[in-house]
């Protein structure tokens, strides 16, 4: 598979029948980055957001309640694990599953924040993410129907996957948090809890980088 001049040399491969989970220089780098930010979400305490009262000199800091902190951290770790799965997966269906899990956990990270703007943005983003699962899983279904396998390893370089399936996969991932749908996320990131909120951004960027590799490879 790694004869393809796309993602650098193969680092390792783990076979489960026709499904082969693998790391190349590219996916290995993405995996390490996802791991790094997951560890940061585990070990970092959140910031104390400071608000300025405009028109005066007053300012105040907010402490994040412990129950919110715990829930955000749990969801950020879940998001990190889903991202790690999406980076390591050698199977298109598993990749789509991890992608939708990232979409769900992204909403979860800010779901308990008591801020109307954040919750509204999370709700709108949730609708987009839900709708995006249709092309996402549709893309995987078309791959299986047209080639008889979902293994990226088996499909690599064969040019057997229809263009429509690739477009669906990219559209699905875009709906899970990339441009132009990420605009909803700009409001989401107003939420406190920097190490956890950052996972929202990390996961969707890494997901997009992985899907680019998949559509170029299969």
């Amino acid at each position: 598979m790694f004869d393809l001049p796309i993602e650098g040399a193969q680092l390792m491969a783990l076979e489960f029948g026709d499904i082969v989970d693998y790391f190349s220089v590219y996916t290995g780098t993405l995996f390490v980055f996802a791991l790094l930010f997951t560890v940061l979400a585990i070990v970092s305490l959140p910031e104390k957001p400071m608000d300025i009262v405009f028109g005066g000199d007053a300012y105040y800091t907010k402490d994040i309640p412990l129950d919110l902190l715990r829930f955000q951290r749990f969801m950020a770790i879940a998001c990190g694990l889903a991202t790690l799965g999406a980076m390591a997966s050698g199977d298109i269906f598993n990749f789509t599953l991890f992608s939708s899990m990232i979409g769900i956990t992204n909403i979860g990270i800010v779901a308990a924040v008591r801020n109307r703007h954040v919750l509204e943005a999370a709700f709108q983003y949730g609708i987009v993410a839900m709708v995006a699962t249709v092309p996402l899983f549709g893309g995987a279904a078309i791959v299986l129907a047209s080639t008889g396998t979902l293994s990226i390893w088996a499909l690599a370089g064969a040019a057997a996957v229809p263009l429509l399936a690739k477009i669906f996969l990219v559209l699905g991932v875009m709906g899970e948090g990339m441009a132009p749908f990420y605009i909803g996320k700009a409001e989401i990131t107003r939420a406190p809890g920097a190490p956890y909120v950052l996972m929202i951004h990390v996961s969707s960027l890494l997901l997009f980088l992985r899907v680019v590799e998949i559509v170029l490879t299969v």
Binding site: P5, L36, P180, A194, L198, V212, L216
Partner: protein, 280 residues
């Protein structure tokens, strides 16, 4: 490799200094000496430093090291002729660094910068268009293969000029004082970098110096091809001065206009790629 890294850091900082000087001269000001950015890094390195009380301490420090790490990795990718996709990945990971810088401090100005950083993620799309166009023409994403293709067929700048224009926009978006640099706009103090001072700022300056060097060198390698080091340095300087001219004469755009222009440019490139794909 360490000697290349040190060279790239100082060359990048010098390029920043030349950038500031060129902007000042175009605007009729004397401007700072060209080595000012190097002096800044040395000065910041020995200034008293602490972490703000409101910050997420681990993240606040970690992002500085991550910034240096990813751009060092980008330089290694370039020098070893690894995958262009990896370079694209590192460029996108820089967005996370920008975001993390702003969010970790607890400062409202940092947070504004971070939110603008999310919005300006559109700046990555022209880069993706560039990669697609290069792949269509050279049938490879390995930088070593792309260089070999140019040795045999001539510069990609002539073969796919719109792809070069897209990468030019990408490089412009990451320059200081760029019309697209909304995340560090002065109405939000220094944006996402507001609370990083002292050693942290020195570390960030080192990372950003590396970034400028890598992006300019990548442009030369990808669109002009393998040329001698001195010629590459001259080409990088000319490229930088053209960017400085745009930065000096164009006001800072609003975040909305930034996104519109970048997505518009990417859309044009996508149409070009579709037509080129149909022809090829």
């Amino acid at each position: 490799m360490i000697e290349y890294l040190i060279f790239a850091v100082f060359a990048g900082l010098l390029l920043h200094g030349i950038h500031r000087k060129a902007i000042a001269r175009i605007q009729g000001r004397p401007g700072p000496p060209v080595w000012q950015e190097i002096l800044h890094v040395l000065k910041f390195s020995f200034k008293e430093t602490w972490i703000p009380w409101t910050a997420s301490r681990t993240l606040f420090v970690a992002v500085v090291f991550i910034a240096i790490g990813i751009w060092s990795a980008a330089l290694v990718v370039l020098l070893t002729g690894e995958s262009l996709l990896l370079l694209f990945g590192i460029y996108m990971l820089h967005k996370i660094v920008e975001h993390g810088l702003g969010l970790s401090s607890g400062s409202p100005y940092g947070k504004f910068g971070a939110i603008r950083s999310v919005m300006s993620a559109a700046s990555e799309i022209p880069l993706f268009a560039t990669i697609a166009a290069v792949y269509l023409v050279t049938h490879s994403l390995m930088i070593s293969d792309i260089l070999a293709w140019q040795t045999a067929n001539g510069p990609l700048l002539i073969a796919v000029p719109p792809a070069a224009a897209a990468l030019y926009i990408v490089v412009l978006a990451k320059m200081h004082y760029s019309p697209f640099a909304v995340i560090e706009s002065k109405e939000i103090v220094s944006g996402n970098m507001t609370e990083h001072f002292g050693v942290w700022r020195a570390g960030l300056d080192v990372a950003f110096g590396l970034k400028t060097f890598v992006l300019l060198y990548a442009f030369i390698l990808l669109f002009i091809g393998p040329i001698p080091l001195l010629a590459a340095a001259v080409a990088m300087l000319i490229l930088l001065l053209s960017l400085s001219f745009i930065c000096a004469t164009t006001p800072m755009l609003s975040p909305f206009d930034t996104v519109t222009i970048q997505i518009g440019a990417a859309g044009l490139i996508v149409v070009y790629i579709l037509i080129m794909g149909a022809i090829l």
